[in-house]
Structures are given as structure tokens and as C-alpha cells.
């Protein structure tokens, strides 16, 4: 929850050049982007939720098949 306060002690509300320099790093950004977008996909058997879903679908289909 945000609260505005009056800046009476004149705390800097604008970043200094040093802070800007410290945070600016395109290679880090590019690396992070690559990591997020090109990470290997997890194999199906390692995803418990998806595995369980497919297992239930297969089980239902099997039971329907057995009934008929």
C-alpha cells in the first residue's frame, strides 16, 4: 500500500547518474531474456500436474472403453 509523504528533508526523488550507471546493463538484460525465452522445455513425465491430467484422461477413456 502506497502512501505519499511530503519530502521536507529534501530526500532525493531523482536517481543520481551513478545509480543510473549501476543499473544500466544491456548484456545482463539480453542474457536474462535468453534464459527466460530459450530455456529447455521440461519433459512431460517431469511435470506432475500435466502427467496427472493426461493419466486421468487416459483412465477415463479406458473405463469408457471397458464399459462398452
Amino acid at each position: 500500500m502506497r502512501k505519499f509523504i511530503i519530502n521536507r528533508d529534501k530526500k532525493a526523488t531523482k536517481p543520481t547518474d551513478e545509480q543510473i550507471k549501476r543499473q544500466k546493463d544491456f548484456s545482463r538484460l539480453h542474457h536474462e531474456y535468453e534464459r527466460l525465452t530459450k530455456r529447455g522445455k521440461r519433459p512431460l513425465y517431469k511435470d506432475p500436474k500435466l502427467f496427472m491430467l493426461l493419466f486421468i484422461i487416459a483412465l477415463v477413456l479406458f473405463l469408457i472403453f471397458m464399459e462398452s
Binding site: R2, N7, T13, K14, P15, I20, Q23
Partner: protein
């Protein structure tokens, strides 16, 4: 690269992400300043929000359409969403320092008073803190971040006239609250 227009650079970056660096270098400072101020000077959080903004811009660049607005408007919109998301996730209160001059400008614009004492300023801030988050955002962007109505309109994907109308409605409401509390 120097003679290329911004739209051309964006088109190049859509095909080859390394060209995105040109846009990053051009707009990093602007977006970082925006996040820094909105987050009350928390450098590391502002750095993360800015990083997240550019990652999202990079990932969604293929969907970006040039509508005649500067590329920065799109970045502001993403940064605004990122900041709002951060606010929502935060469970604790945190403060955003605002300069006295900005409070004075806001008071003049809302026709409250041309001069405000320290007590008046504190009282106005108390009223501001009672506003909805959405209204706080608009007041902050216009009066504390000093964005133009055109920039605000681009952030919210609304017309400039609509941005003005929304802001002045909030000021009207603020004026009523001010009078009732006096």
C-alpha cells in the same frame, strides 16, 4: 544506425534482438527515472522493474504497432503495469516522497489555494492518501512525475482529452473533500 528513424530501428529489432540495445540505450534512463520516482527512490526495486519492463518489451516486440506515438509511450505503459503489479504484491505500506512544490502545483490546479501552509500541505496529502489506487496513479503521473496528458493518454491507451477529463474529475473530487474537511 544514426540516420535510421525510430520505427526503422524497431523493425530491425523485431528481426534481430541485438538491435534492441539501441532502444535500450535510448530509453533506459527515462524508464528508470520513472520507476525510481514511482517507487519512492528504492533503487534496486526500480532497477528490477526497469529490467522487467525491457524484457517484456523485448519479448512482445513483434506485437508492437507503430501508431505514431514515440516508442517510449509503450515502454511507459509496460513500466506502469510493472509498478502496479509490484504495489499489489506488497503487503506492507511504503512511502513515496513528494516535493512541496509539486503539492503546491496540485493545490493551484485544483483551485484549493494559491499558497498552502505546511499544515495545509499535510492535510492535502492525507486526502490524497484516501484516494483509490487508480486515482493516485493518475495524480502521481500528472503532478509528481510531471508527464504530459499525451504521455498519460498513451500509457492508459486513451485519448488525450479523456486523460484530461479523468484528471480534472479527480481534482474536482479532491476539491470537494478539501472543502468538506475544512
Amino acid at each position: 544506425m544514426k540516420n535510421m528513424t525510430e520505427s526503422e530501428i524497431v523493425e530491425m529489432a523485431k528481426k534481430d534482438k541485438s538491435y534492441f540495445g539501441v532502444l535500450y540505450n535510448k530509453y533506459f534512463e527515462q524508464i528508470f527515472r520513472f520507476s525510481f520516482q514511482r517507487l519512492g527512490g528504492m533503487e534496486d526495486v526500480a532497477g528490477d522493474v526497469t529490467q522487467q519492463t525491457f524484457i517484456k518489451a523485448m519479448a512482445n516486440l513483434s506485437r508492437y504497432e507503430d501508431r505514431g506515438l514515440p516508442f517510449s509511450s509503450w515502454l511507459y505503459r509496460i513500466a506502469q503495469n510493472e509498478v502496479s503489479m509490484y504495489f499489489r504484491k506488497q503487503k506492507k505500506n511504503y512511502t513515496v516522497p513528494v516535493d512541496e512544490n509539486r503539492i503546491q502545483d496540485l493545490a493551484s490546479e485544483a483551485n484549493l489555494s494559491s499558497y498552502m501552509s505546511m499544515d495545509d500541505q499535510s492535510h492535502l496529502v492525507e486526502i490524497l492518501n484516501e484516494l483509490d489506487e487508480e486515482h493516485m496513479d493518475l495524480i502521481e503521473l500528472r503532478f509528481f512525475q510531471e508527464l504530459s496528458f499525451k504521455e498519460i493518454a498513451a500509457i492508459y491507451s486513451i485519448t488525450e482529452a479523456n486523460a484530461k477529463m479523468r484528471t480534472y474529475r479527480i481534482l474536482e473530487r479532491l476539491g470537494k473533500k478539501w472543502k468538506n474537511s475544512k
